[in-house]
């Protein structure tokens, strides 16, 4: 994969309002998005991810910092001068135009010759499999079809970067899954850099090459889905992506002593007081009598079909969830109140210093 940079945000600040009431939607955000990658901005609502996208699109001007597109400063360029297109959350299709006219709009505004406009429009219609709908009004389409028109319209001018602002949030679950695959296919086929905004962590994990996790106007961590999931840098990232267990601990030589007194191994850290985190699927249930097993009591069992969540209470009261694959019989042979042993897969324990 090429390492050239498509979009770079450098120390970008965006403040809304003035004086004491000013809110920093983006607080010194710097990120480099590589050419041809599927980059996802992930975070809860109000974290600034959409604001960052709007700054890249040019709908808003940053209060500070610069935005570069392939090395060129585009910070103050208006949206119609940026070779960047957006797929809007509301689709924002033109109601007075047909599907084909919607797709052709950007090309026409660029002043492309008629032959090229109709050829590209036909190609885009084929790409999103909407040829039979070419002459329909957009209001006659279903949500999924409108979504595909919005995609084709934004892809038609062959932008350097495609921005997607929670485009799947209005679709129902089944359609959303289909569109996730469709989006990934389109990105691979066109080779265009996608910047995708979502609050859905599963969507982010399944589709992205890299994810930028945002919270409170700051970029918390940038990395591949595996890095983000397996090596979260702080408590926010660990808890926002997937489910996890937090265990307060004190460093004791090379080991960490949990509040219940048991020492376990984990990667080295600077601070003395840390939080250990371990994913529920990396928690193993063993015999109470096993060596270095942490004694625990089963507080609750929740059956999810493919797996069973086993809520455990450690001697000091800390709660730990273990995700156990459901056995063929459907019954794991466990009972609430039962005493068991707990062991963490050593490589799966992460240390958070905050």
């Amino acid at each position: 994969m090429t390492q050239s940079i498509a979009v770079e945000a450098a120390h970008v600040i965006k403040a809304f309002g003035h004086g004491d009431t000013a809110v920093r939607a983006l607080d010194d955000v710097s990120v480099q998005i590589r050419t041809g990658e599927f980059f996802t901005l992930l975070g809860p609502s109000g974290c600034g991810k959409t604001t960052l996208l709007r700054l890249i699109a040019g709908f808003e001007m940053p209060s500070g910092g610069t935005i570069l597109l392939e090395g060129a400063d585009i910070t103050t360029l208006p949206p119609n001068k940026r070779p960047v297109n957006t797929v809007f959350q509301s689709y924002a299709l033109f109601p007075h135009l047909t599907v084909a006219q919607n797709i052709a709009f950007g090309l026409q505004m660029l002043g492309k010759p008629k032959a090229e406009v109709s050829a590209t429009t036909a190609k885009m219609l084929a790409l999103v499999k909407l040829e039979p709908m070419a002459n329909r009004k957009t209001s006659q389409l279903s949500g999924g079809q409108q979504q595909r028109v919005a995609l084709a319209r934004a892809l038609a001018p062959a932008p350097k970067v495609l921005l997607l602002d929670e485009p799947l949030s209005a679709l129902d679950l089944k359609l959303r899954k289909e569109m996730q695959i469709e989006l990934k296919r389109l990105q691979t086929e066109t080779g265009i850099t996608f910047i995708f905004v979502t609050h859905d962590q599963e969507e982010a994990l399944t589709m992205s090459d890299r994810i930028g996790v945002m919270s409170a106007g700051k970029l918390q961590q940038v990395g591949t889905p595996k890095e983000i999931y397996n090596h979260p840098v702080n408590r926010f990232v660990a808890s926002f992506i997937g489910e996890t267990n937090f265990l307060p601990a004190i460093r004791d030589g090379d080991l960490y002593r949990l509040d219940c007194g048991i020492k376990i191994a984990a990667p080295p850290a600077q601070a003395d007081r840390v939080t250990l985190t371990v994913r529920p699927e990396q928690v193993r249930l063993v015999m109470e009598t096993d060596a270095d097993a942490i004694p625990a009591k089963i507080a609750n069992l929740v059956y999810f079909g493919t797996d069973t969540h086993c809520h455990l209470t450690l001697p000091d009261g800390t709660e730990v969830v273990a995700r156990l694959q459901s056995p063929p019989t459907g019954d794991a042979g466990l009972a609430i109140g039962q005493s068991v042993g707990v062991r963490f897969v050593p490589e799966a324990v992460q240390v958070l210093e905050d």
């Binding site: 709908f59 949206p79 957006t86 809007f88 299709l93 033109f94 007075h96 505004m109 001018p157």
Partner: protein, 303 residues
């Protein structure tokens, strides 16, 4: 529902209109009655003291376009009437165009205000309706007459050496009509712009449209119903305007409305006035038909 029941429901729905019979009778008398009288008057000979006498003649209809020489009976074009026609159409079109040019930014301004202040702005637009048209027209007169407010200010500021001759010109009529009918343009435009999805602006900008293209290719086509409604609401009453041209145009700059009044008054030629009224009606109807037809075709073609 059985076919018999269905037939009964259809039958009772069919007879249901009978309930609106009183309203229909009233409408027939109120709308068609006076119109029928006007049409009848237009084909009768004029009486000596105004009025009409029994009989049938097309003299009045001929009189709209032609004048008969008193001595040899030859026909010549009625230049005065044609001038009045042309002035009416020209001033009405100018009024419509100018009301649109002023009304569109106004409606846009109101539609883009926060919802709370929008009501206030709309309220301000309707304030002129609270005062009698006659009073407002006299007020305009007060502003643009020779020794009026505008000339006084311009003279005091030494921007002009001589007072501008605005009153009793076509320009005065045009200014007055634009002022009077502007709200009728703003309100339907606002109704259209209010429903306009402002997110489409971002979509258009994002797809490389210049601000002018956004206006021409996105905003205008979508708010077209409002533009048509506003134009009709301004053009139709402008064409038949009476008070404004009477007070601001003086005796010379008559429009169709003044001409009709003249025939029923001093002119003592009721049939000619009636024929002119019917002609005005035909012009307006024709203009509307052409406009609506054109607008509809554009819409169906464009979508």
């Amino acid at each position: 529902m059985s076919p018999a029941e269905q037939a009964q429901v259809t039958q009772s729905a069919r007879n249901g209109w009978l309930l609106s019979a009183p309203a229909l009778v009233l409408l027939t008398f109120a709308a068609i009655g006076p119109l029928a009288i006007v049409v009848a008057y237009s084909v009768m000979p004029p009486g000596d003291f105004g009025n009409v006498t029994w009989g049938f003649t097309l003299d009045a209809w001929q009189g709209i376009l032609f004048t008969k020489d008193i001595f040899d009976g030859t026909l010549a074009w009625a230049d005065a009437n044609l001038t009045i026609f042309w002035r009416s159409v020209k001033l009405s079109m100018l009024t419509t165009i100018f009301a649109f040019l002023v009304g569109f930014p106004t409606a846009w301004f109101i539609a883009t205000r926060p919802p709370k202040s929008r009501a206030l702005w709309l309220f301000l637009i309707t304030i002129p309706f609270w005062t009698n048209l006659l009073i407002r027209t006299f007020a305009i007169n007060e502003i643009i007459r020779r020794e009026g407010l505008l000339n006084t200010i311009l003279l005091k500021l030494h921007l002009i050496a001589q007072p501008l001759e605005m009153i009793y010109t076509d320009t005065a009529v045009f200014i007055g009509m634009t002022y009077v009918y502007l709200p009728l343009m703003v309100l339907p435009l606002f109704a259209s712009l209010d429903r306009f999805d402002m997110r489409l602006l971002e979509a258009a900008y994002d797809l490389y449209a210049t601000p002018w293209q956004v206006l021409r290719k996105v905003i205008m086509p979508i708010v077209k119903p409002g533009i048509i409604a506003g134009s009709i609401l301004v053009f139709v009453p402008s064409l038949g305007a009476y008070v404004t041209p009477r007070l601001l145009g003086g005796g010379k700059n008559m429009m169709i409305g003044n001409f009709i009044e003249l025939q029923f008054g001093q002119g003592r030629n009721w049939p000619l006035g009636a024929a002119m009224s019917v002609t005005l009606l035909v012009i307006v109807t024709a203009a509307l038909l052409v406009y609506v037809r054109y607008a509809n075709r554009e819409t169906t073609h464009g979508q």
